[in-house]
């Protein structure tokens, strides 16, 4: 016999929780829609913090350990906030052959951050992707959601330097 527990209240009055609630409700609060729920948190808040993980676990009636296990298994989920700008360098085969390594080294040299890290002033996060599927434009970079193709280290650093 299963007992339906009342859903927990949202952690704060932040309106973004409504988006998370909508995603969970759309899937009938089913536990198999956990990944969908985590996607909605990341979309709304940019990353998954402990408060969000606990809230999702309680809402879907799942142990926190399981939610944490799933959140850490998948590369796309971020447990730390990103900087104001996110620069994703594609490291797929075509991009690798055409010099993605140089792009990462260029950013490492200028900003002192490695893939997965954020600058101290919170301005820039450097990320790497397995393949963004834009192999015809290799090497490709996704800067704040916009795809930039055929990048050179100079181009990219100039563009990054021009961000606020």
């Amino acid at each position: 016999m299963s007992v339906t527990r009342p859903k927990p209240p949202a952690p704060s009055t932040d309106k973004r929780w409504n988006l998370v609630n909508a995603a969970m409700r759309r899937n009938g609060y089913a536990d198999h829609a956990l990944i969908e729920a985590l996607h909605s948190v990341q979309e709304a808040f940019g990353y998954l913090d402990e408060t969000a993980l606990i809230y999702v676990a309680e809402s879907l009636d799942l142990p926190l350990s399981k939610v944490f296990g799933v959140a850490t298994f998948y590369h796309l989920f971020m447990l730390k906030p990103k900087g104001r700008h996110a620069c994703v360098v594609c490291t797929g085969t075509a991009c690798y052959i055409k010099g993605a390594g140089g792009l990462i080294e260029g950013i490492e040299g200028r900003y002192g951050i490695q893939p997965g890290e954020t600058t101290d002033d919170n301005a820039l996060s450097l990320l790497s992707a397995r393949c963004v599927g834009a192999c015809g434009l290799a090497p490709a970079v996704v800067l704040n959601g916009d795809m930039l193709g055929k990048q050179t280290s100079e181009d990219l650093l100039t563009r990054l330097g021009g961000l606020d």
Partner: protein
Amino acid sequence: MNLDELNEMAEEVRAADAGVAHEVRVCMAASCQSSGAGPVLDGLREAAPGGTCRVKGVGCMGLCSAGPLVAVAPMDGGEPVLYRDVKAEDAQAIAASIGAAPVERLRLPNDLPFFSHQQKIVLENSGVIDPNSFKGYIAVGGYSAMVQALTEMSPADVLAEVTASGLRGRGGGGYPTGLKWSTVAKMPADQKFVICNADEGDPGAFMDRAILESDPHRVIEGMAIAAYAVGANRGYVYVRAEYPLAVERLKTAIRKAKRSGFLGAHICDTQFSFEVEIRLGAGAFVCGEETALMASIEGLRGQPRPRPPYPAESGLWGYPTLINNVETFANIAPIVVKGGDWFAGIGTEHSKGTKVFALAGTIRNTGLIEVPMGTRLRDIIEVIGGGIPNGRAFKAVQTGGPSGGCLPAAHLDIPVDYDSLRALGTIMGSGGMIVMDETSSMVDVARYFMEFCMTESCGKCIPCRAGTQQMHDLLKTIAKGQGTRADLALLEDLCEVVQATSLCGLGQTAPNPVLSTLRHFRSEYEEKLAATSA
């Protein structure tokens, strides 16, 4: 609804367009969009003469390296004029050329070998129809295969056609599709599932992305026919979150198909019902493996489990489940309409039909191509691909991603089919083809793929988790010129162990890039050793 009514509907859509004399097609697939196709489309919409000219966004035209691509097609069936590297400023010139002389400075010759050597089945609508338009798909005969199957064929008839076609799974394994479908169909169960694997994880592969972005209804139609044949009524498309445009177009397509009664309960007023949902991946390569993919749909960590039982017997939540790749489903509609024998007439004895490849790397024409199975590798690289740029020499072509291998120039004359590639130590894979010139180091390429497998190992079984790590360390040492003969021997030994003892395909095939480069480029490894162990 029966076929006559559907044909009538298609006729009505075409009749509504009767006044259109020219169509200006702007490629709005991801690659061209990132080269600036959006402003080009806006510019052309503004500049184009109204009335007899229609401007529309379409899917992938193939030649990604020359994007943004624009085609001006006369609607009387004449040859379209193709333009390359179009900028928003060019809109006026192109608009003015409609019905007059083409703009020669932007023009791509129509007899370009890149286009003339292809045969399109999967991609026949790609670059022609608007992927967001349901009516556009109906106008080119869309959903007629599904309606034909539902109203004129029994599930057994559909299975017979798919079996006769000789179609093999396009995700890489090459398992006969008809056999897989028949196994699921035979299972006695109240609930069955159909899953479309769109978790295209191989780096350097973008076929499935392009198909979903260019012709999403085609994939849905294939899934619905499959569901009818095997007796399923629910389906999932598991697609990478890295492909936002593909997800958006797929969502639109599902919504529109449902609204028009081509998905949902009692499709086209028959007893058949089929619901499709999208599930987003979250960046785990191992989820391309079918048992890991199902775990991920169930909301769990994407870790594979041993087979048997195969998904056909016990899959999603323990129910019989049919899993096929995007390209496999995209082949189904033409097989149903034209018959399995027609399809079996294309390709080679054991590999039927066509294959879509993503050409990338150091090659002149990068992009998406579709050729009959059995096409010579040399024709793909030198004729369609245009060869190696910058006067450099060809060195190797990598197929099959991290599970595949590299082929040297000596084997360029082989026919590309499942068995020829396997005999040479690589695999067809999902269709990524990465060309490398003489400047690429094969040891470094092997190290690159091993790093990939090491990072992507799910950690469940020890041979893969620990073995890929050890092999990567050895390859790093050898690549730096610090390796010894003993290191190389240990590496070869480990390849064998990891291949033989890993739980799933990821681990079992992780040594392939090392083994194939050792087989065809052993001297490069030896040269790296020479410095320390001579």
